[in-house]
Amino acid sequence: MTFWNDPINYIADWLRGVFMGWGITAGPANVITALIGIVVIILFALAIAIALVWVERKVVARFQDRLGPNRIGPFGLFQPFADIVKLIIKEDITPAGADKVVFNMAPVISLASVILIWAIVPLASKIYGADINVGVLYLVAVGSFGTLSVIMAGWASNNKYALIGAFRMVATMISYEIPMVVALMIPTIIAGTMSVKGITQAQSNLWFVFLSPLGLLLFIISAIAELGRSPFDLNEAESEIVAGFHIEYTGMKFGLFYAGELLHAFTFGGFMAVLFFGGYGGFFGLEKLSAFAWLSNPFIELVVFLLKALIGYWVIMWVKYSMPRIRIDHMLTFNWKFLTPLAFVLLMMTALFDKLLAPTQFYVPGMFLSNILLAWIVIEILRKYSKRERIEQEKPAEPVIQAAHH
């Protein structure tokens, strides 16, 4: 075992040796080593969040035909650090009517809920926090902490706009959790494991996006809704309720919400890669050839994972800056009358085809074509429905009201 093959265990062994050299017994030495590892993972996640502030501002500027930050440092790279300094030294205002304890807890829980996800993110085959056997369920469970922080912030602010924003956000988050859970169940069925590392390893020869493209679509839509990003950004609809649930937050507390949101989006981009695009691996068996053995180096895998996560994050940004906001009744209708039934049908289909076709050579084409067929049927149903709606709306109104005046 060298540093280049297995960096985490190499450093951990070295640290354990150092601590035991100081006369600490094996148990506490393990705990201290784990603590150092945890702090490193969290700082890594926060460093990504700081970088994302720059990425987000630069990309939105390009989408809107602007330059974005370009004054501080080369390409404005030091802008986020200036932002952090500004947020820290800005006065922190707590409204007089607020519930102070809950008000101060909400931003901490908001960021903590995202940081907690990083305990299971498989950055590379040998760089990860914990490999728990219910990883996918853990993702959903920790995500609900985020919902809790939103309702805490909205309720404690003692502000009507904040409360409206929080209610809308919670309605979105809980509604879209059902397609989300189903979308997470599909890789579970195909891989036969709920551990995110196991799901990644199951894709070493074939990405799951080829087996279930509709599952990916479900995951992207529900992930964007969970994040509360446009077109589902009713929670902070600037033109109606100013900033939604974090309207009363200033300074660093607002900064925590902001960092949490960006990191959450990036994490979902990463999970998009893990669940459907092979995560850190997925080189279609290429790494087994001796000429490409370097692909399974942990550092290469880390870079591959971060690139895939960035692409996923970019897709989420692309949707955010291209779509107008939708109304709350449309949002809930879209989920309950379209996405949820589609998710359940897809789940049944995947389960049945996985069972019937798994041992045969028709597995991959069968899964792919059945997804395409289902997508086609859904589009046909939608086309019929919207045609009927259009005819209904374009019917000329009868001039009854004018006659009544005379």
């Binding site: 705990v31 784990a34 603590l35 702090v39 993972i41 952090i84 820290i88 030294i89 800005k90 707590t94 409204p95 007089a96 009517g97 101060n104 931003p107 960021l111 903590a112 940081i115 907690l116 305990a119 926090g129 914990a130 728990i132 056997n133 003692n158 502000n159 009507k160 706009y161 409360l163 209610f167 919670v170 309605a171 809980i174 509604s175 959790e177 059902i178 189903v182 169940m185 579970t188 069925i189 036969g192 494991t193 709920m194 100013v242 309207i247 300074g251 660093m252 925590l256 709350i328 809930l332 209708t333 309950w336 009358k337 949820t340 039934p341 359940f344 789940l347 049944m348 389960a351 069972k355």
Partner: protein
């Protein structure tokens, strides 16, 4: 396996401590000069009318109820999805019947008009 969960527990503790650090730093570095106007509720600039902690639209509650039913039932589906490869075809069909019952429930709420934003 136990050590993995111990790790998650440690992660939880540190994950809560880390966001508190910048708040503490801000507490010592930022100015603190409160006044009644600064601390008033911010709603478009005009003074706020009435209580904020009021009863709210019941529709949100109904959606939460529908969600609760589905979420509890999807938890039952995870073990089935996990063991799918080892199950006989009959058990898979049973799971599909369970999902069909879920869809029947969804259709019922739909027909009852509970999914309308009235």
């Amino acid at each position: 396996m136990q050590s993995e969960w111990l790790y998650i527990g440690l992660f939880l503790v540190i994950g809560i401590i880390v966001p508190i650090v910048p708040l503490v730093a801000s507490h010592f570095l930022a100015p603190h000069k409160p006044n009644p106007i600064k601390q008033s509720t911010y709603e478009c600039g005009i003074e706020t009318v009435g209580e904020s902690w009021v009863q709210f639209k019941a529709q949100y509650y109904i959606f939460a109820l529908v969600f609760l039913i589905f979420d509890v039932e999807t938890v039952f589906l995870f073990p089935w999805a996990l063991a799918l490869g080892k199950l006989p075809l009959f058990a898979v069909l049973e799971g599909i019947i369970f999902i069909l019952i879920l869809i029947a429930g969804l259709t019922f709420t739909w027909r009852k008009g509970l999914l309308e934003w009235a």
